[in-house]
């Protein structure tokens, strides 16, 4: 935010670097004040909204997390860190963390490589590739609630489309109970997530691939590099910044997963597909244990924050060089 002032100040000193007369210094002060007022004028509406709707509720949630509070009136029953102690002894919440890690691992190991493969394939000269690109991107445009309703019908045990299709190609016995089976619910859910999100990552990669200069690939070709070598040593390194962003978005998305799960399974059967956000919702909106639910939201926030900062600090560092002013002491 302060960067708004920097160019002006620099221009000021460039224009009148040695001027020391009282009049011009008064003028400069006035101009600086005007600039300052303009900046404030533009920022106040956004700041008020941001503070009122984001910062204050967050601080309040942090405050409420230290109380046993049913959501009525102001919190008054201070319990210290009890909510957090209870949280980390709660099998459901520990399960949430485990499932979160599982989803992240699956996304990174399967979903993103799949999206990358599709992107590379669709970056070739291919008849009708615009149609394919659109088709694969379409699921991302659907709302999560619609996706959820759609897939709970497709995977309805026995009557659903999935079982019919499997049956018609002679694999009738393969279809199980999908979302209704505690052992398969996460796998089915991940299938839906991949269907919904791989198109988005594919688009990111396609955009990244467009910016890989053709000369480099050509040069590698002339040097005798095979297709795999060209991909591994030319395309992939140049795509790395896009990959890093895509991994970041994917991880944050997995930590906060809610809509799909809520619509399809409500976290069931027997908590086997529950995520942190679902648990938070259950406690906050079904059980009226808002203090405890706040503790969950604080932990979620903490995880996101730590991850986001660490990722930027250690992984995105090179991508951000020059764009950020503080991370490496003025970029040196």
């Amino acid at each position: 935010m302060t960067s708004t002032f920097l160019p002006d100040r620099r221009t000021d000193s460039d224009v009148a670097p040695t001027s020391a007369t009282a009049a011009s210094s008064r003028g400069r002060a006035r101009r600086r004040l005007l600039n300052w007022l303009t900046a404030v004028g533009f920022q106040v509406p956004a700041l008020v909204l941001f503070i009122g709707l984001v910062i204050l509720p967050m601080l309040f949630a942090l405050y409420a997390a230290f109380f046993r509070w049913g959501g009525f009136g102001m919190p008054s029953d201070y319990v210290g860190g009890d909510n957090f102690t209870r949280l980390f002894q709660d099998d459901v919440f520990l399960g949430d963390l485990w499932r979160c890690l599982l989803l992240i691992a699956l996304s990174l190991a399967i979903q993103l490589p799949f999206a990358l493969a599709m992107a590379v394939a669709l970056n070739q000269r291919l008849r009708g590739r615009a149609v394919y690109r659109m088709l694969f991107f379409a699921p991302y445009v659907l709302s999560e609630a619609i996706t959820g309703v759609l897939f709970s019908m497709i995977f309805a045990p026995g009557d659903g489309l999935a079982d019919h299709v499997l049956g018609s190609i002679g694999l009738g016995g393969v279809g199980g109970e999908w979302f209704a089976d505690p052992s398969y619910v996460m796998a089915t859910l991940f299938l839906v997530m991949t269907w919904k999100y791989f198109g988005f990552h594919m688009m990111l990669y396609l955009a990244g691939l467009q910016s890989v200069p053709a000369e480099l690939t050509e040069a590698a070709l002339i040097d005798g590099a095979g297709p795999w070598q060209r991909f591994r040593n030319v395309t992939l390194p140049l795509l790395a910044p896009t990959l890093r962003i895509s991994v970041f978005l994917s991880v944050i998305g997995a930590i906060q997963l809610f809509d799909l799960v809520w619509v399809i399974t409500q976290g069931g059967p027997d908590h086997h597909s529950e995520t942190m956000a679902v648990t938070m919702f259950q406690y906050g909106f079904k059980r009226y244990q808002v203090g405890y639910a706040s503790a969950i939201s604080v932990v979620m926030f903490g995880i996101c924050l730590v991850f986001a900062l660490a990722y930027q600090r250690f992984v995105l560092r090179r991508d951000l060089e020059g764009a950020t002013t503080t991370m490496r002491g003025d970029g040196k």
């Binding site: 709707l53 984001v54 509720p57 967050m58 309040f60 949630a61 409420a64 049913g70 959501g71 009525f72 709970s152 019908m153 045990p157 026995g158 009557d159 659903g160 109970e177 999908w178 979302f179 209704a180 089976d181 619910v185 962003i245 970041f248 978005l249 944050i252 930590i255 906060q256 399974t265 409500q266 069931g268 059967p269 027997d270 908590h271 956000a277 938070m280 919702f281 259950q282 906050g284 909106f285 079904k286 059980r287 009226y288 244990q289 808002v290 639910a293 706040s294 939201s297 604080v298 979620m300 926030f301 996101c304 924050l305 986001a308 930027q312 995105l316 991508d319 951000l320 764009a323 950020t324």
Partner: protein
């Protein structure tokens, strides 16, 4: 540029999660005071009648009320059952309830009353509410004060498919638990799915445990357990054991753990399409079966939850509840007028005739024609005890834990003892 966009996205994403609870609360509170310059009053009416024919009938009644009261506009807001409960939690926390809102009475209404958000209707409705059936008013009487006006009263029982029972050679519905388990066995032997259950939504499963608890531990044990915050009564553990015996027979439809109640692949549709022989559900079951499935017509029958041999409860004790409306504190007089209109004999006759509710005005009993509804009504009138739905009677956290633990029992991950331990633990924490 990359930096700013990225960190803001990460920040917003993260804070959206953290702020979800609180911002949702503050965003949902938009109520209206209803008055406007031309002297008309708008009253907001929140209900859960999203299925047909109730949806249309209620809209028609609102129009009729507006015609009788030209200065009043009724704004209807309808939400599906579960969504309504969540939304009301948010509204209650924000301190602003709709003018007229659906309530089941019991612990949840008590909590809203304790928060000072509900209008005391004792005096304002006295002239006409005295004439309503007293059993129907029970759930809304808190500390001898009236906080809601019923429009329906009912009970949970088994709805069964007569054709499928006949096919399995079951001549009369079972009246004992062992007879019931036998019937399940006979149905299974004929390859008929005995029971439809919405495992995803948890509350339909809770009905089994609650009824079994009433039959084994007795109706007082449930209230006593909640008062003492101790659910370790051997009768309650026994109830879980009986339910476990039933689950052991694998009586439910394929994929029941993921099934919802009123969706096209849910419990009611499974029953309504003749794909299961029974469901344990309330008086509204025939309407929902016909709405989300085909409906069974004259093949549908009703029998009360069987007695358990050696248990303290009787088969005449019923588990159920009704539907009612409460008013927010300070609601306009027009809202009280609407309640009076809605509980009038003329309205009740229409509700009973068209939407399958049970009469709450004695004069409306003559409108009962459906033999099943009559059977429910007869059972209710002869009831020797009444227990309100546990997730409404108990404080929300305890009610939800009952649903949750019983769901775990049905899924096979909790023992009967663990169910009572979990509920006790939650009751002590809340």
């Amino acid at each position: 540029m990359g930096d700013r966009a990225l960190s803001r996205r990460g920040f917003l994403a993260a804070s959206a999660a953290a702020g979800l609870g609180m911002t949702a609360l503050s965003a949902c509170g938009g109520g209206s005071d209803g008055g406007s310059s031309d002297g008309t009053t708008t009253i907001e009416w929140w209900n859960i009648s999203t299925t047909e024919p109730t949806h249309t009938v209620w809209a028609g009644l609102a129009k009729k009320f507006e015609a009788q009261n030209p200065k009043v506009k009724v704004k209807i807001v309808q939400l599906e059952n579960d969504a309504y409960k969540s939304k009301m939690t948010a509204l209650t926390a924000s301190g602003k309830l709709p003018d007229i809102f659906h309530t089941w009475g019991g612990g949840v209404l008590q909590q809203q009353v304790d928060a000072g958000l509900v209008e005391d209707l004792t005096d304002r409705t006295k002239p006409w509410s005295d004439g309503l059936l007293s059993v129907a008013k029970q759930p809304y009487l808190l500390d001898k004060k009236m906080y809601g006006i019923p429009f329906d009263i009912g009970m949970i029982g088994f709805w069964y498919n007569k054709a499928l029972f006949k096919q399995a050679g079951i001549s009369t519905p079972p009246t004992t638990w062992s007879g019931f388990l036998d019937a399940v066995g006979k149905l299974k032997a004929k390859n008929i799915t005995p029971i439809a259950l919405a495992g995803k939504e948890k509350w339909p499963g809770m009905y089994y445990w609650a009824y079994l608890a009433m039959r084994t531990a007795g109706i007082d044990a449930l209230q006593k357990a909640a008062d003492n915050k101790d659910f370790s009564d051997p009768g309650l553990i026994q109830a879980g054991q009986h339910l476990k015996d039933l689950v052991g027979l694998k009586p439910f439809q394929k994929g029941f753990l993921g099934a919802a109640y009123s969706t096209p692949t849910g419990q009611a549709a499974t029953m309504g399409n003749g794909k299961a022989a029974m469901e344990l559900m309330g008086q509204w079951a025939p309407v929902v079966e016909a709405d989300s499935g085909k409906g069974l017509g004259s093949d549908l029958g009703f029998f009360p939850f069987p007695a358990v041999e050696g248990g303290k409860g009787a088969i005449t004790e019923v588990f159920g509840g009704g539907g009612g409306h409460a008013l927010r504190k300070g609601a306009p007089q027009a809202a009280v007028d609407f309640l009076k209109f809605f509980a009038s004999e003329a309205t009740d006759l229409e509700l009973v005739k068209k939407t399958n509710t049970l009469p709450i005005v004695p004069g409306a009993e003559k409108a009962l024609s459906d033999p099943n509804t009559k059977a429910v009504q007869a059972q209710l009138k002869a009831a020797t005890g009444f227990q309100l739905y546990l997730d409404q009677a108990y404080a929300p956290a305890v009610g939800q834990e009952v649903n949750d633990s019983v769901a775990a029992l049905i899924a096979g991950s909790k023992s009967p003892e663990q169910v009572t331990q979990s509920i006790t633990k939650t009751a002590k924490e809340a």
